[in-house]
């Protein structure tokens, strides 16, 4: 089932076209990686898909145009994880995860059993149950990332858009978070995730979308998208490649300087 259909999305920021005619679709069970160099428009595209930026083009959630969904209705279908794992107040972990239930709570109603269950399950999945009563400001970076992911999972939305969920995490926690995202997709959700690590994208995602200067350069399986030509054009790097346990890895190795780029 197609959960997200975006047709020719363009976003203008300050007179400049930051995202240019990008189309994509995500179906249940799919984990898509949005990759590309800094400034390629990944974050802007993701925010536009979440309805947080003005855009041209059309976005449909479960076949319905984004604009026709009410705010709360949209929030139940689509969960969005912004960059940076921000909490302005040092709430306890449980209170933060509970915020994911806001789209389900009627005004003035307190959480019901289903809400508590969703919160517990999200904390179990992300392995933070034992941190439940800890204030956010006492957590490590890896713990914070998992708490914010749990907050997003607690929404129980069929579509999740996550902006750099593994940024600034150590390798162990990068793998941990990617496994969680994969796991959530396998349970029937569709995910679009902004990533910088090409190997993580290749290993964990079903499809890669490569953005460059706001336009979609390539989309498809990792083998095609992470070709030498694409890496040279979009990232201006050459990469080492290999295979281990039947999975591909791509390791950016050398920068292409301007005069060399013609030879590459």
């Amino acid at each position: 089932m197609t959960l997200l259909e975006a047709e020719r999305i363009s976003v203008d920021l300050g007179g400049r076209t930051v995202v240019n005619q990008v189309s994509l679709r995500a179906a249940a069970g799919q984990l898509l990686a949005l990759i590309g160099p800094n400034g390629a428009g990944k974050t802007t595209l993701l925010a536009a898909l979440a309805g947080l930026r003005r855009f041209r083009g059309s976005v449909r959630l479960r076949g319905r145009p984004l604009a026709t969904l009410g705010r709360r209705e949209r929030a139940r279908v689509l969960a969005y994880l912004p960059q940076g794992h921000i909490a302005h107040w040092p709430l306890t972990v449980r209170r933060l995860v509970e915020l994911g239930r806001l789209p389900h709570l009627a005004p003035w109603r307190t959480p019901v059993a289903a809400d508590r269950l969703a919160v517990e399950e999200a904390m179990q999945r992300t392995d933070i149950a034992e941190l439940a009563e800890r204030p956010f400001d006492t957590l490590s970076g890896g713990e914070r990332a998992r708490v914010m992911l749990a907050r997003v999972l607690a929404v129980e939305a069929p579509l999740v858009l996550a902006d750099e969920p593994v940024a600034a995490l150590d390798p162990y926690h990068q793998l941990r978070v990617m496994e969680l995202l994969r796991d959530y997709a396998d349970s029937g959700a569709a995910l679009v995730v902004v990533l910088h690590d090409l190997t993580l994208a290749a290993r964990f995602c079903d499809e890669l979308l490569l953005l460059r200067e706001g336009a979609l350069v390539a989309r498809g399986p990792a083998d095609e998208v992470l070709s030498a030509v694409h890496l040279a054009e979009a990232y201006r790097v050459t990469a080492l490649r290999g295979e281990h346990e039947d999975q591909r890895y791509v390791l950016p190795w050398r920068r292409l300087v301007a005069e060399e780029s013609g030879d590459a």
């Binding site: 979440a50 947080l52 705010r71 969005y80 909490a87 302005h88 107040w89 709430l91 915020l99 005004p107």
Partner: protein, 337 residues
């Protein structure tokens, strides 16, 4: 696991009950104590108008003072908690941000230009307008510059300007009587207020409370930042309008009857965080009660401590609040900048 949540909720209720008991106790003390201490029976007699002299003391002097102390304290505490949540700034408060001073300026201008003589509603409405203007401009500033200290500085600028303009109006005041009347708006006091003042301010304050108390969910969501809050189905424009409008109504009406009283909105939420945590929505109602308790306690102090001239309530809250503000500034310097 759900027992933990219940314990948390129960603790919140306990704090509310304790604060309500304290507020009631202080209100009773406010009726009983004074230059002429009364017995509960005498207060009751006065309330139902059984004795003319007692009725004068209770109905005309003490009851308005107690009720206003309660309402104004609650308005300030609630506005402080809501502003801190909206601006995500633990130093935000109607006094420090210049909302109270701007409301005072509105009131003084209504007096200065004689509008107050035209209609009884002119003064509170002008105070409300001043509060609205200050809150809205600060909210605009806050969205442009996310630096919390920048916002506090902007608030100090707004406050200084409002106080300067108020002082200008005092300088140019047509007669000494008007002058003494206008000084009140700079210093703040619950003295010599009547039940008609209560009736004038109550509808605005109540409307403000409703707006502020219903902003809890949105303020909670803002903990995660504006984009995450929007993605959770919160309409930010509506939330901002709600908190700005609610603050203007509550603080504007409060200032219109008692003058600018600072720091209650800063202290109330801070005192509660060790017990209730930092979730903005959970702090709203308790902060209102704590504000009422603080202001009534301060007013009781003002009334009972023998001084040559009765102290102005706003002076007392500033004497307690300013060092507290300094303490927060020094403690939070690292996290704030």
């Amino acid at each position: 696991m759900s027992r933990v949540v219940d314990a948390d909720v129960r603790r919140g209720r306990r704090v509310i009950v304790v604060l309500a008991v304290l507020a009631t106790g202080l209100a009773l003390a406010g009726l009983l104590l004074g230059p002429l201490p009364l017995s509960p029976w005498q207060v009751l007699t006065g309330l139902i108008g059984g004795d003319e002299r007692l009725a004068l003391i209770v109905l005309e002097i003490r009851l308005p003072r107690v009720v206003l102390g309660w309402m104004v304290g609650a308005s300030l505490g609630l506005s402080g908690a809501a502003l801190q949540g909206l601006l995500r700034n633990p130093l935000a408060e109607p006094g420090i941000l210049g909302v109270s001073a701007s409301a005072g300026l509105g009131a003084v201008l209504a007096l200065y230009f004689g509008l107050a003589q035209v209609s009884a509603w002119a003064l509170p409405l002008c105070a409300l307008g001043g509060a609205l203007l200050a809150t809205a401009s600060l909210a605009v500033l806050a969205t442009r510059d996310p630096n919390p200290l920048g916002l506090i500085l902007a608030g100090l600028a707004v406050s200084s300007l409002a106080v300067a303009l108020t002082s200008l109006a005092l300088n140019l005041a047509p007669n000494p009587l008007a002058l003494s009347e206008m000084v009140l708006w700079l210093l703040g006091s619950l003295r010599d207020r009547g039940l008609n003042d209560v009736a004038l301010a109550a509808p605005f304050m109540a409307a403000g409370w409703v707006l502020l108390l219903s902003a809890g969910r949105g303020l909670d969501a803002l903990t995660l930042g504006e984009e995450a809050a929007r993605s959770l189905g919160i309409g930010l424009g509506g939330l901002r309008a709600q908190v700005i409008g609610g603050t203007a109504l509550a603080v504007g009406a409060a200032t219109a009857v008692t003058g600018a009283i600072g720091f209650v909105g800063l202290i109330a939420p801070h005192l509660l965080r060790p017990w209730l945590g930092h979730q903005p929505g959970r702090l709203l109602l308790p902060s209102a009660l704590a504000g009422a308790v603080l202001l009534m306690a301060a007013d009781l102090l003002v009334r009972l401590v023998p001084t040559r001239q009765e102290l102005m309530l706003g002076v007392v809250t500033a004497l307690i609040g300013a060092p507290f503000f300094l303490h927060l500034l020094l403690r939070g310097r690292r996290t704030l900048s």
